[in-house]
């Protein structure tokens, strides 16, 4: 187990280094065009660009620059954002925090809801409940976020006038502003996780060891809780871990729609404005989260599944 954790973490660091190298080659070298031109804009002249390169150390050999760049990153010096005129860390951290809040509430509602309903429908395959959940799940998952965002806004903001239409939190954090984005995300993602859970649970319920448990004369509750659940949750667990990445950088549409100042929107802004330092930092954070969740998923998976743990 310890070996596994060490190995996974080692692998994680290795992945991060590879990604950072790719990132560096793409953004900081001549491979994809002159970085100076990218920063100073297309109307700058060669003299200005040369001056900029000199100032920022771009005339040093590539490997030296990479090592320095990596060193700065590792020590927390993320550079200056041109777009926001300030240190990258100061721009990025509040955005990360906002996304964390959004993600937390989405998860807090979506996970218990989809797991419970998925397990319930998987328990009795083909029942009324199962079929309604399946239909509802397909329906909500196939409606894209921008459509459901429009629909919910029309209903709750303009129709019923219950909720604010934007979530910019300009007057400080307000929970009411969080409801609509969370609702859109939960509705979109719920069907996916619930259907995964349902499929996994249904498979477990037809397995022979469940038959053994029933024919041992165990109470139904014990058959489900003790014998079925743990095995049924192995597959959805991986899926749930993958949702974290999606919430971090994949919910740009929702963030833009509700003017929510989240991380996904920040990445988009950074790339639209050629804000290289900010883009690099954001990309590294996104990659880190992706690799970390996968590592966690792998370790958690091993923990849930003794067949892997002891082989």
């Amino acid at each position: 187990m310890v070996t596994l954790v060490i190995k996974r973490i080692g692998f994680m660091i290795f992945t991060m280094i590879i990604v950072s190298l790719i990132l560096f080659l793409l953004l900081e070298t001549e491979l994809t065009g002159d970085p100076a031109a990218r920063v100073l804009g297309q109307f700058s002249n060669e003299e200005q660009r040369e001056l900029w390169r000199e100032q920022h150390g771009y005339n040093q050999p590539v490997m030296v620059r990479y090592v320095k760049w990596l060193g700065n990153f590792a020590t927390g010096d993320l550079g200056e954002s041109i777009r926001f005129k300030g240190p990258v860390a100061d721009v990025m951290l509040p955005r990360l925090w906002n996304t964390a809040i959004l993600g937390f509430w989405t998860f807090a509602i979506m996970i218990p809801l989809s797991l419970t309903l998925g397990v319930l429908s998987g328990m009795r395959e083909g029942s009324m409940l199962d079929r309604s959940i399946s239909v509802f799940g397909i329906l909500t998952t196939s409606v894209p976020e921008f459509a459901s965002a429009v629909f919910f806004s029309a209903l709750f903001v303009f129709g019923l006038k219950w909720l604010p239409g934007t979530s910019s939190m300009s007057g400080g954090f307000e929970f009411r502003q969080l409801i609509l984005p969370v609702m859109v995300l939960v509705v979109y993602d719920f069907g996916y996780v619930a259907r995964m859970t349902r499929a996994s649970m249904a498979e477990v319920m037809t397995s022979q060891y469940i038959r053994t448990a029933v024919l041992k004369g165990l109470p139904y509750k014990s058959v489900i809780v003790k014998h079925a659940l743990r095995n049924a949750l192995i597959a959805p667990f991986t899926v749930i871990m993958l949702q974290i990445n999606w919430l971090l950088s994949g919910v740009i549409v929702v963030e833009f729609f509700f003017a929510y100042k989240g991380f996904g929107a920040l990445i988009l802004e950074a790339s639209l404005n050629n804000d290289i330092a900010l883009l690099e930092a954001c990309a590294m954070v996104a990659v880190f989260v992706a690799v970390a969740t996968q590592t966690l998923a792998d370790i958690g998976y091993t923990f849930l599944n003794p067949r892997i743990r002891f082989s």
Partner: protein
């Protein structure tokens, strides 16, 4: 078995149906059964005959679409059909317990054995966890598992198949049930392991007085375990009686047919070929009028057998309650029927085709744990094949027998070029093939060395037609080029494997298991092979189907003078069809010789144990009982000396543990690897004793 004791279970006029979109499918009809305390009942029949359905009905676990249509199941004066879910729960696991076919699938993979065992008494009795634990430990040692503490702390995947089945049996016995249902409990296990489980099951009924219903397709196993036997065919019982009565004087033509399908230790492929039952088991909704068996019966009388549904009748003159569902049982004289004098000519052996010369196959295993990294032992070897030496001639059938993990499939892989040999040579027609991977072999080489696989269900591509799949093989091997000729060749092959020609256009899903295996054989013979490797070709098939496929294989071999390498764990089939036998254990050949030499002393001690483990469906044949203790050692860490020393019943001392045994030549090609001097081995009594024809109660077959 005391007759005045109240029966444990009575099934009366039971009919069970499944309800599907196509309508009602009767799975079991008119089934009656009485189980007395301490009695073991056997239910035997081929797949689809409804034997497992009966067990599930007794458990009242029919799934969503199954139901008991009529009749009653009375367990200790209580009608199980009328019970509520909670009443059933109190009976399941405590008074009626069940043991399943696949022990691995029936244990929860993510719970420890201790949890799975202890919950049984905890659910049914008011006892403390500590008491439940003690009881589980006691039961584990009762089912003869070594080191119960360690087993308790293990997960199912850490145990071997035999150990898992013992755990399941222990689980069934924990609450001391009055009735134990065993649904093919040994089908997934090796012969020697099977022998141990069978002995355990027999001991249990003695020790705990548990009544048992033992479901199996293997008549030999039923003979060894049961008191009374029920033979089922297409959803109904066709014959029932005590073991002695039914096995000595079978009355129903189907029972006779079944016996004719199993190779007996006296039988030989040339003198008395197997007689498969013609036709196929009817599907439940295609059952014929009158006797369900009549379309396949040799004694069918039109106007009598195909009229009304036939009921069970007491066999006149039988002392025990022997009953049969046949109108003509009295008229049929089975003695006159057999033998019909069919004798097939033995094939003359030609030149040497295959020579295996000191072949070795090691697999490298890389250990990635930290400990291995530190100690420097990163690469370890699995010695799958160690010093294999044997040869095969043209037209000869050589069988390789041994338990799973003995390396017999590894050898097949090296021969086929799917793996490369580590050392030594495998010469096919004087050319060493052990180093040439299959993709480097010429089409002719591949075509002349073909394989028939164990599981016909997975080996055919489900989305191509049968004809397409065989044509492709013919084209690839360059046997024929012209389209018309290829088509003709496929037709000839279909004729050879005795399938209708219109199967050319069928898809695999439209075929039964036996038909698929015939296609597998046709495919293997498409390239005119000089040698065919058959890896357990009939072990996934039913008795009567297996007999037909075995005979087919033999006929084609006779015709084409093919060398057949037959890989199997079933010694009775091996005895029946092979000329020479190679006995393997843990990668070593422990004995090799002709069939006659292997089956008579001197034996290697392992051969002796294997022979003892074969269930024989003949009550007059007696066997010496040798039950092997323990598990097969890991091939990663084999014993230093003789590979068999950890389980050997004839171990003579430290020499067995420390020195590899020498090869002792008995006569020409009969070789035994053992430390025991040949003189000693020659004194060993034969394991199987077959009475002379004159001593027999009746002459069979």
């Amino acid at each position: 078995m005391n007759d005045d004791q109240a029966p444990v279970l009575i099934c009366k006029d039971l009919s069970i149906s499944y309800y599907t979109r196509a309508g009602e499918i009767p799975a079991v009809v008119d089934f009656s059964l009485t189980v007395l305390p301490g009695e073991t009942i056997g239910i035997v029949g081929e797949s689809g005959c409804g034997k497992s359905t009966v067990a599930m009905a007794i458990m009242q676990y029919m799934g969503a679409n199954g139901g008991i249509k009529s009749g009653s199941i009375t367990f200790k004066d209580r009608d199980l059909n009328q019970m509520s879910e909670s009443e059933l729960r109190r009976i399941r696991g405590s008074e009626i317990a069940m043991i399943y076919q696949e022990p691995f699938a029936s244990l929860n993979p993510s719970l420890k054995i201790s949890t799975q065992l202890m919950e049984v008494p905890l659910a049914h009795e008011k006892i403390s966890t500590e008491e439940a634990r003690q009881r589980a430990l006691q039961m584990l040692s009762d089912v003869k598992l070594p080191d119960p503490e360690r087993i308790m702390d293990s997960y199912p995947h850490q145990l071997s198949g035999g150990q898992q089945q013992r755990v399941v049996i222990a689980m069934g016995l924990l609450s001391n049930p009055s009735l134990l249902l065993l649904d093919e409990p040994t089908t997934a296990l090796d012969v020697t392991v099977e022998a141990g489980i069978v002995k355990l099951v027999a001991d249990i009924s003695k020790k705990f007085g548990t009544s048992q219903i033992y479901i199996s397709h293997n008549l030999g196993l039923i003979l060894e375990t049961c008191d009374r036997v029920f033979v089922m065919y297409s959803g109904e019982v066709v014959e029932e009686g005590t073991i002695d009565s039914l096995f000595t004087w079978p009355r129903h033509p189907y029972t006779h047919g079944l016996f004719a399908c199993i190779p007996l230790p006296t039988a030989d492929k040339n003198a008395a070929p197997l007689k498969p039952i013609r036709g196929q088991l009817p599907l439940p909704f295609e059952r014929p009028q009158g006797c369900y068996y009549h379309p396949r019966c040799d004694h069918f009388k039109p106007g009598l057998c195909d009229q009304e549904h036939i009921s069970m009748a007491h066999v006149e003159g039988s002392a025990a309650d022997h009953r049969v569902r046949c109108l003509r049982y009295n008229e049929i004289d089975h003695h006159l029927q057999t033998p019909d004098g069919e004798v097939k000519k033995a094939l003359e052996l030609g030149e040497q085709v295959l020579e295996v010369d000191h072949m070795k196959k090691y697999y490298e295993v890389r250990d990635t744990s930290l400990r291995a990294l530190i100690s420097g032992k990163r690469v370890r070897y699995v010695k799958a094949n160690e010093e294999l030496n044997f040869s095969a001639r043209e037209g000869e059938t050589v069988a390789i027998v041994g338990e799973s993990g003995c390396g017999k499939s590894t050898f097949a892989k090296v021969l086929m070029g799917l793996e490369k040999g580590t050392d030594g040579e495998v010469r096919h027609r004087d050319k060493d093939l052990s180093d040439i991977a299959v993709r480097d072999r010429s089409a002719k080489q591949i075509g002349s060395l073909q394989m028939v696989f164990q599981n016909p269900f997975d080996t055919l591509n489900p989305s191509h037609s049968i004809g397409g799949q065989i044509s492709r093989v013919i084209k690839k091997f360059g046997v024929e080029k012209d389209k018309k000729k290829i088509f003709d060749r496929v037709m000839t092959l279909l004729d050879t494997v005795k399938l209708p020609r219109d199967f050319y256009f069928r898809k695999p899903r439209q075929l039964s298991g036996g038909q698929k295996q015939r296609i597998g054989i046709a495919r293997a013979f498409a390239g005119n092979p000089s040698m065919v490797i058959a890896d357990e070709p009939v072990s996934a098939l039913d008795v009567s189907v297996a007999a037909a496929v075995t005979e087919l294989l033999m006929d084609i071999q006779r015709e084409q003078k093919t060398t057949l390498l037959f890989i199997s764990h079933d010694l009775s089939v091996v005895r029946y069809l092979s000329d020479r036998i190679v006995v393997m254990y843990l990668g070593h050949i422990l004995e090799r010789g002709t069939t006659e030499q292997i089956f008579t002393p001197p034996y290697s001690p392992y051969t002796e144990a294997l022979l003892s483990a074969v269930p024989i469906a003949d009550p007059e044949v007696t066997k010496r009982e040798i039950v092997l203790e323990g598990n097969l050692p890991s091939a990663m860490n084999p014993p230093k000396g003789c590979p068999f020393c950890t389980r050997c019943h004839r171990r003579i001392g430290d020499i067995c543990d420390n020195e590899p045994p020498p090869e002792q030549v008995v006569v020409d090609r009969h070789v035994i690897k053992c430390h025991i001097p040949l003189e000693e081995l020659k004194k060993v009594e034969p394991v199987i004793h077959v009475p002379d024809e004159s001593e027999r109660l009746h002459a069979r077959h």
